[in-house]
């Protein structure tokens, strides 16, 4: 069903037409019978009138005074087997058998309705006839005149129904408008004042659903925060006690180093899963603010520097101040993940180049490394969750969980940014390029 309005108008009009047609048909039949009766009574009257006339033998007279009704009425007066009087439009022979009552006969090229009646003395016959086709036409005219307004009324009825149905559907349209006008993260209840009884139930149910959804989102958000707290504290405990253990052993112990690596890896995984969870587009309640991506990149590089220093890598930031609108926390995570990947897969002494530059469309961020790079056919797969190039036995021997780029992609999606992979400008290596559209050129203004 395309539209309730069209459906209602069509169905109502069809119903009305059907009923009008059936009743018109029935009305036509009974009207015809009624008019037949009426005309028959008229014939009776004419016959009585003729009976009162003095009978002059054989001087045919034409009763047709009006030319318009020429030949519409005819009569014959017979007495003792002789024709005494007749109208000009009758033959010399009897126009009907001498039997009391009405007869349908043919003469003078027409079909007639004839009333045969005996005169007052009971000696002769008075035959009065009326042309059947004219009678029929007259009767039909009367009926058609009565039915015509109904036929012309149909479009008007349709128009009225269209408007009335439209008016009746107004609350539904208002509700639809309110629902479609809602932002994707707006879970506030719908207003149900001024809505008709039929819609109140719908609105109430929708509001119940929205409330439950909001509560569920709130729980999910709390879960992320609680899980973060619950998971980070035990990892802190492990780290502290490992630190103390290393202190007490007071020698370089291989087992301590391995344990430390294991804890770091678990810590990394926990952080990445939490980050992935938090930036999933339908979970994320983005908090968009004005920020400078260049400054943010500078801060994140500063924080990540120890990891680069540990591998004796050169890290460089170029570009210029790039004000944009975005979620600071998410963009920080994006930068951290890209930098961490670049550092991880670039060998000792390698180079990492970060560029943040504003342009006509918005801001472009690129992170290039001088690592081994990725084969173009792997470009799409690296964004899948838990996917790692070469599987778990990654050639770099770097631990990882394969979530980093999945998170980056989520965050890019949140910012409606385009993310592309290509070879870096170094001899070999990967370039990750993220194009942020400026809020002015963004199609969807919801997040701006």
């Amino acid at each position: 069903m395309k539209s309730i309005r069209t459906f209602l108008v069509v169905v109502l009009l069809a119903t009305i037409t059907l009923i009008v047609f059936i009743s018109a048909l029935r009305g036509y039949r009974s009207s015809m019978q009624q008019t037949e009766l009426l005309f028959d009574v008229q014939l009776q009257d004419i016959a009585e009138l003729l009976d009162e006339l003095p009978v002059e033998p054989m001087a045919p007279i034409d009763v047709q005074a009006e030319p318009a009704r020429e030949g519409a009425i005819a009569f014959q007066i017979w007495n003792a087997g002789f024709l005494r009087q007749r109208s000009a439009n009758t033959p010399d022979t009897p126009i009907a058998p001498f039997e009391l009552g009405y007869h349908d006969t043919n003469f003078s090229n027409h079909r007639w309705r004839v009333l045969a009646r005996q005169d007052g003395k009971g000696e002769g016959w008075i035959l009065v006839a009326e042309r059947a086709d004219i009678r029929f036409r007259l009767a039909e005219d009367v009926i058609l005149k009565a039915v015509t307004p109904i036929i012309f009324g149909m479009p008007i009825a349709g128009l009225l129904i269209w408007f009335v149905v439209g008016y009746g559907m107004k609350p539904l349209r208002r509700l639809a408008g309110e629902l479609s006008g809602k932002a994707s993260d707006d879970l506030s209840p719908l207003s149900d004042d001024r809505s008709p009884a039929e819609l109140t139930q719908v609105i109430q149910s929708t509001n119940d659903l929205l409330t439950r959804l909001a509560a569920s989102f709130e729980r999910e958000k709390r879960f992320a925060a609680d899980a973060a707290h619950e998971l980070r504290t035990p990892i802190s405990v492990l780290k502290i006690h490992l630190h103390n253990l290393a202190h007490d052993l007071s020698s370089d112990n291989q087992n301590v180093a391995r344990l430390s690596d294991g804890i770091e890896r678990m810590n990394h995984l926990v952080e990445q899963i939490l980050a992935l969870y938090r930036v999933t587009p339908d979970q994320f309640m983005a908090n968009f603010t004005s920020l400078d991506l260049y400054e943010l990149a500078r801060d994140v590089i500063g924080e990540s520097y120890p990891a680069f220093a540990a591998k004796d890598q050169t890290v460089e930031l170029t570009g210029s101040s790039s004000p944009m609108v975005g979620d600071r926390f998410a963009l920080q995570t994006l930068l951290q993940n890209l930098l961490s990947n670049a550092g991880k897969y670039t060998p000792n002494g390698g180079e990492v180049l970060i560029t943040v530059e504003p342009n006509a469309q918005g801001t472009t961020l690129t992170v290039e490394d001088s690592g081994p790079g990725i084969e173009p056919e792997e470009y799409e797969r690296v964004f899948e969750r838990f996917y790692r190039v070469g599987g778990d036995r990654h050639a770099s021997g770097q631990p990882g969980c394969g979530l980093g780029l999945a998170i980056v992609r989520h965050i890019a999606q949140l910012h409606e940014a385009q993310i592309t992979l290509q070879p870096s400008s170094f001899e070999h290596g990967l370039m990750v390029r993220v194009d942020f559209k400026s809020s002015a050129s963004r199609v969807n203004p919801d997040h701006a």
């Binding site: 973060a228 504290t233 502290i240």
Partner: protein, 217 residues
């Protein structure tokens, strides 16, 4: 040095206490905000390590209350939350530093040493990295034990870098440390000082992270 540790997780607190004692701190451990405020009232510690998530009240509330009486008492906040808002809220509430869990013990100790030096009560005012040592009390800087002459700004720059060894200091951060607010700063002032410092120090001691800032160690 007496340190008050406010942390409700006993496993974590036990480990922290042990580690801090190994480093020569005298640790008083309490598990609630109320107990922390009572402990501060009874005997003011030199420093406080304060967890934000406490069972009886928010760590930030504890911080605000103790700030009324002790505006200068160094407080290091610990938190398992990582949102930036919490960090801002923590520093706005008057925390001197902020560390999110899980942290490296080395990182915690480095932060504590910075707070310690700020107090000026530390026995050894020496910061040594490699062959370079800097005495924050006498402002003497020595390479291999030989004193070198530094201007006031060069000294402040070196101190800022050495206090945050291993952490990149952005040019903006260094500018705010070297110059008071509203003071005219030439756009290349930091570069010039770094250039001059490098000539007096071991080559490669101050590393440039291009586009970001400078780092030592």
């Amino acid at each position: 040095m007496p340190v008050l540790l406010v942390e409700d997780d006993r496993d974590l607190a036990g480990g922290l206490k042990h580690a801090l004692q190994n480093e020569g701190f005298a640790v008083n451990h309490v598990t609630t905000g109320g107990a922390a405020l009572a402990a501060i009232e009874a005997d003011v510690p030199d420093m406080i390590i304060l967890d934000i998530g406490l069972p009886d009240m928010d760590g930030l509330t504890v911080l605000k209350r103790l700030r009324v009486v002790h505006p200068a008492l160094p407080v290091l906040l610990l938190t398992a939350r990582s949102s930036l808002d919490d960090k801002v809220a923590g520093l706005d509430s008057g925390a001197d530093d902020y560390l999110s869990k899980p942290f490296d013990m080395g990182e915690l100790l480095a932060r504590l040493r910075v707070l310690q030096r700020r107090l000026g009560t530390v026995k050894s005012n020496d910061i040594s990295i490699g062959t370079l040592s800097l005495d924050t009390a006498t402002r003497a800087v020595c390479v291999d034990g030989d004193p070198i002459e530094l201007s006031r700004r060069e000294y402040m720059l070196l101190k800022a870098l050495m206090e945050n060894a291993g952490r990149v200091q952005t040019r903006e951060a260094l500018e705010t440390k070297l110059y008071s607010w509203g003071e005219e700063v030439a756009s290349n002032a930091i570069e010039v000082h770094i250039h001059n410092l490098r000539k007096k120090l071991v080559p490669g001691f101050i590393k440039t992270v291009r586009g970001v800032g400078y780092v030592v160690g």
